[in-house]
């Protein structure tokens, strides 16, 4: 028990000097500031989005008409595989990690994430793994068996190049990044909240990323195991998937989808959470049915572990198991329906202000429903036998991933960029951006439902004119081009706003959550004083008074601009997991080169393993060990607790 006594003013200069990264190269490589890391995540994942988009456009050019010869089948196979893994692994999840990294501590009233160095490592390994996988494309040996890479086609006899070695090692590499990132989010939500921010006052965005992080912790090992088997089978003549040697091709499918289906929710739940932040702000009222939305987020994460077999309905499973997994896959629509109606009710019962982010959110709601119902369609086993592995599923996955990930992400850029840069993005350009993306998206992807129902299998590099798919594919290609223009407008708007955007001030949208309390962009220390929280929407308390959700009568109001300073080095509160009662003052780590060096060593190991340069792999391994020891050596981990 300790009591912190008052002083007169917060020593802002001291805080600034304590928290700011050193200038120069050292500061760039060694910084552990969650805001810097968050921005790096965002920029890097947007680059991957553009790369994946270019791959898609090349494929669309090939598919514009029947019997096209723009691409060889081998090139097409590499393109669709790279497109898939780039978007799913190197864009969709990292972009959400970027937002969570940047926003979480601001939203939670903390000065940093729980494990700042782990956070830096998570980013550097993400970047390094991306460089690694794109090395494959640069040397013409990119993965080529589809993003879900069904064995045995991935084994040496059918795929002798380095292609699938890059796939296996690249994904193991990325898994390290994602797993430690997820542990960091969990640790942060458990320990790093402002005093008083109990579970019923957590923003839904936090619930979304938290659920996704739990799901990642338990599902990613399945991918690690599967890809490790793949690498071993390809390199060391072991047998896991080769049926002739007692293995089973279905082992890959089970492991992959035990990971893969939770992964779908990992890349949509945080995005849905972001929507649940934006909807109340622009509808000028608290979110309808907050506890239901929070619980449905968690329920989705849990049920998401019980539906993997719906990717395998055509593999000849027993009927009982198909009925079970069909039922589970149908039931998972309920939590999503709850969220959808909470948003719609918030729009109806509030007074929506149609700024650009809100336009994207409204567009998202419609797309979410289309992606959702087509998901139910594929959960109905006998019809799934017809549409699985056709363009119907391609349409479904794009409505889910673009509809539920990209649109909220673009909305979130419009919403939070002013906080990050201090400047607003253009509303005029934003509306143009919205309509081109919305029209282009529906023009490009809705017809894919039709081409799927007309029997077009996915992953065909060309098709005969007699199949009758020419006109739908032409429309799809035109739509994808329009969509690409929309993305271009978005990127242009970002650059324009950096230079010429109107100054945002601390709270341009008059939002209610904590990240809008400090100036934009936030100072290195986030909060001059650690706020004390008494409701879910601290910045709306002055207007809503006792009606503010999460407020307990008699407990008083939140204190945002007055509170505890904590300025003896990098300090913030460690709070209890449920009630966010302050337990101790945490001493956060200083900047460090070890995360960067460790990622470099891992990259060396990965290159060593893929090219069978064993000396390099061993050298990398030694480097990793040395970095870890150096990392763990300092005082704070040995004496991390301070009573």
């Amino acid at each position: 028990m300790a009591t912190l006594a008052p002083i007169a003013t917060a020593p802002l200069e001291r805080l600034h000097d304590t928290w700011e990264a050193r200038p120069g190269l050292y500061g760039i490589l060694a910084t552990v500031d969650h805001k810097t890391i968050g921005k790096r995540y965002l920029v890097t994942s947007l680059i991957f989005l553009v790369l994946g988009g270019i791959e898609a456009l090349i494929m669309r050019a090939q598919l514009t008409h029947a019997n096209a010869h723009l691409l060889s089948p081998g090139a097409y196979d590499q393109l669709f595989t790279m497109h898939g893994i780039t978007m799913i692994f190197w864009y969709a999840s990292p972009v959400l990690s970027g937002f969570s990294n940047y926003i979480w501590p601001l939203m939670l009233g903390s000065r940093d994430m729980a494990y700042p160095r782990v956070n830096a490592l998570s980013y550097w390994t993400f970047l390094a793994s991306g460089i690694f996988i794109y090395t494959a494309l640069c040397i013409g040996q990119a993965p080529n068996a589809g993003w879900f890479a069904y064995a045995p086609m991935t084994l040496r006899p059918f795929d002798p190049g380095l292609n699938m070695d890059f796939y296996a090692l690249g994904l193991i590499f990325l898994t390290v990044s994602t797993t430690i990132g997820a542990i960091n989010f969990i640790g942060t939500v458990m320990k790093m909240r402002a005093p008083g921010m109990s579970l019923n006052r957590l923003p839904i965005f936090v619930y979304g990323t938290m659920t996704a992080s739990f799901a990642a912790v338990f599902s990613l090992p399945a991918l690690t195991v599967a890809t490790t088997y793949l690498y071993f089978e390809r390199h060391f003549h072991m047998h896991f998937f080769d049926a002739a040697q007692g293995g089973s091709p279905l082992l890959w499918q089970h492991l992959f989808w035990m990971f893969g289906h939770p992964w779908v929710y990992i890349i949509v739940l945080p995005a849905m959470g972001m929507v649940s932040e934006m909807v109340p702000t622009f509808c000028r009222r608290p979110l309808v049915a907050y506890p239901y939305v929070a619980m449905s987020t968690i329920a989705t994460g849990i049920i998401g572990f019980g539906v993997w077999v719906h990717h395998m309905f055509a593999t000849g499973l027993p009927g009982v198991s198909m009925s079970f997994f069909s039922g589970a896959s149908i039931i998972i629509a309920i939590p999503s329906a709850i969220a959808v109606f909470a948003w719609i009710a918030t729009m109806w019962l509030g007074t929506p202000v149609w700024k650009t982010p809100m336009m994207f959110v409204a567009g998202f709601v419609v797309r979410f429903v289309i992606g959702g119902v087509s998901g139910v369609v594929t959960a109905a086993v006998p019809f799934d036998w017809q549409v699985t592995d056709t363009y119907f599923v391609v349409a479904h996955i794009h409505y889910v991933l673009i509809g539920i990930n990209v649109f909220p992400v673009v909305a979130a850029f419009y919403y939070w960029m002013p906080k990050m840069t201090g400047r607003m993005m253009s509303e005029t350009l934003g509306k143009w951006n919205f309509w081109t993306m919305f029209i282009g998206f529906n023009l490009g992807f809705f017809p894919m439902h039709i081409s799927g129902l007309l029997g077009m299998p996915r992953r065909v590099y060309t098709y005969p004119a007699s199949a009758g798919w020419g006109s739908v594919n032409l429309i799809t290609t035109i739509g994808s081009a329009v969509f690409a223009v929309g993305v271009l407008l978005f990127v242009i708007n970002i650059f324009v706003s950096l230079r010429r955007g109107a100054f945002a001030g601390s709270n341009p949208w008059h939002a209610g959550t904590l990240e809008w309390a400090m100036e934009s962009p936030p100072p290195p220390y986030n909060f001059a004083v650690i706020p004390i929280i008494r409701s879910r929407l601290p910045l709306w308390e002055d207007q809503l008074g006792d009606e503010t959700p999460g407020m307990i009568p008699g407990e008083g109001h939140s204190h945002v601009s007055e509170g505890v300073v904590l300025a003896e080095g990098r300090e913030t509160f460690g709070t209890s997991p449920l009630e966010a009662h302050p337990l101790h003052v945490l001493h956060m780590p200083e900047d460090s080169m070890f995360p960067f060096l460790l990622a470099v060593a891992m990259l060396g190991t990965a290159y060593g393993l893929v090219f069978s340069l064993w000396w390099l792999a061993i050298l990398g391994g030694i480097g990793m060990l040395a970095c870890l020891i150096g990392w763990l050596w300092p005082r704070h981990l040995v004496t991390g607790e301070r009573a």
Partner: protein, 338 residues
């Protein structure tokens, strides 16, 4: 539920006739088979329910937009508003719950109905998926009654036919949309499915699982014959190849035996026994070559032999730069293999 699917059947039939006319031969919603029609009935139900849900939500969002334009307030004003929980209870739980329950019941019912034919199958056909073609075997009482063909499956109309699906290379998926949904073909296991065509005709099919470079060129056809025609076809196919009747054809047989073709292909009755490529004993009776890539004409046949790697890059069939006289005799000989 069955009543609903029957009511939807006419509209499905309209699309179906389009499919039979050949504009979109793989149309999922056009059906002829017994299992295909059950799956399509479920499909129409799902498509209609989905469209209804999408329309309702879109209207709700548009109305929210329209309403808000009338009531402008100050941008920074906030209101607590009413709880709105009934929206979530009705719209998010009760109504979707009912719709989803109906969907589940319909799904389970269809699953049960298509699980097995009501009568014992009239024939059992072994289908072996290869990169990138289909081997089709009708195992008779002895080697002389065994029929081996490729990329075309003949079945008697109005009778269930059992298919045993295997592969020795990678995963493929058997799919003839009008007759049945996909059944994966997986190394190390034998999956079975069944089809029953209601009318005579030709039904398009294709590989439904990405299986490598030429997945796009792995089509096949199911041809439903009258029972009499089917028996006759079976008997014809079981016979060894006819002896060449004219000198050109005889020369073609010589080319076949000496240019390497026989290393990979079999023409029963000639002494060739290659097992890599399709059995060519009755190749002239088939409608396509290279797994549905080209119509089976003499010109296409010659083009395929000469430049297979240009037409289907990556396939096991090499481009064979034969002298033009040899090529012509070979094609002429193959044309005689009815």
């Amino acid at each position: 539920m069955p009543r609903l699917s029957r009511r939807l059947a006419p509209s499905a039939g309209a699309l179906g006739s389009c499919a039979l006319a050949g504009c979109t031969p793989l149309n999922v919603l056009a059906h002829d088979g017994v299992t295909g029609s059950r799956e399509t009935g479920l499909g129409w139900f799902l498509v209609i329910v989905s469209c209804a849900v999408i329309c309702i939500i879109t209207i709700l969002v548009l109305v929210a937009y329209a309403r808000s334009r009338k009531r402008r307030t100050r941008d920074d004003a906030v209101f607590a508003g009413s709880s709105g929980v009934p929206w979530v209870m009705w719209g998010g739980v009760v109504i979707p719950g009912i719709v989803l329950l109906l969907t589940f019941i319909f799904t389970i019912g269809t699953l049960d109905a298509v699980a097995a034919p009501t009568r014992s199958p009239a024939a059992t056909v072994k289908v072996i998926g290869h990169q990138w073609w289909w081997e089709v075997r009708y195992e008779g009482t002895g080697p002389s009654h065994t029929v081996v063909t490729a990329n075309e499956i003949h079945v008697p109309v109005g009778q269930p036919v059992k298919l045993e699906l295997t592969t020795n290379d990678v995963i493929h998926s058997f799919w003839v949309p009008a007759l049945a949904g996909k059944t994966d073909i997986i190394p190390g296991q034998t999956n079975t499915t069944w089809i029953e065509a209601r009318h005579t005709g030709v039904f398009g099919g294709t590989c439904g699982e990405y299986c490598g470079a030429q997945h796009a060129h792995m089509q096949m056809r199911v041809i439903a014959d009258s029972p009499g025609d089917f028996q006759k076809w079976l008997a014809d196919e079981a016979a060894p190849a006819a002896k060449p009747a004219d000198p050109t054809a005889a020369d073609g047989l010589r080319v076949f035996m000496t240019s390497g073709c026989a290393n990979c292909h079999t023409i029963r009755g000639t002494g060739s026994g290659g097992g890599v490529g399709p059995d060519l004993t009755h190749i002239a009776s088939r409608t396509t070559i290279a797994a549905g890539t080209l119509p089976n004409t003499q010109a296409n046949l010659m083009g395929w032999i000469l430049a297979a790697q240009a037409i289907k890059p990556g396939s096991d069939m090499p481009s064979m730069p034969l002298p033009s006289r040899d090529l012509q005799s070979l094609a002429a000989y193959l044309e005689t293999l009815r």
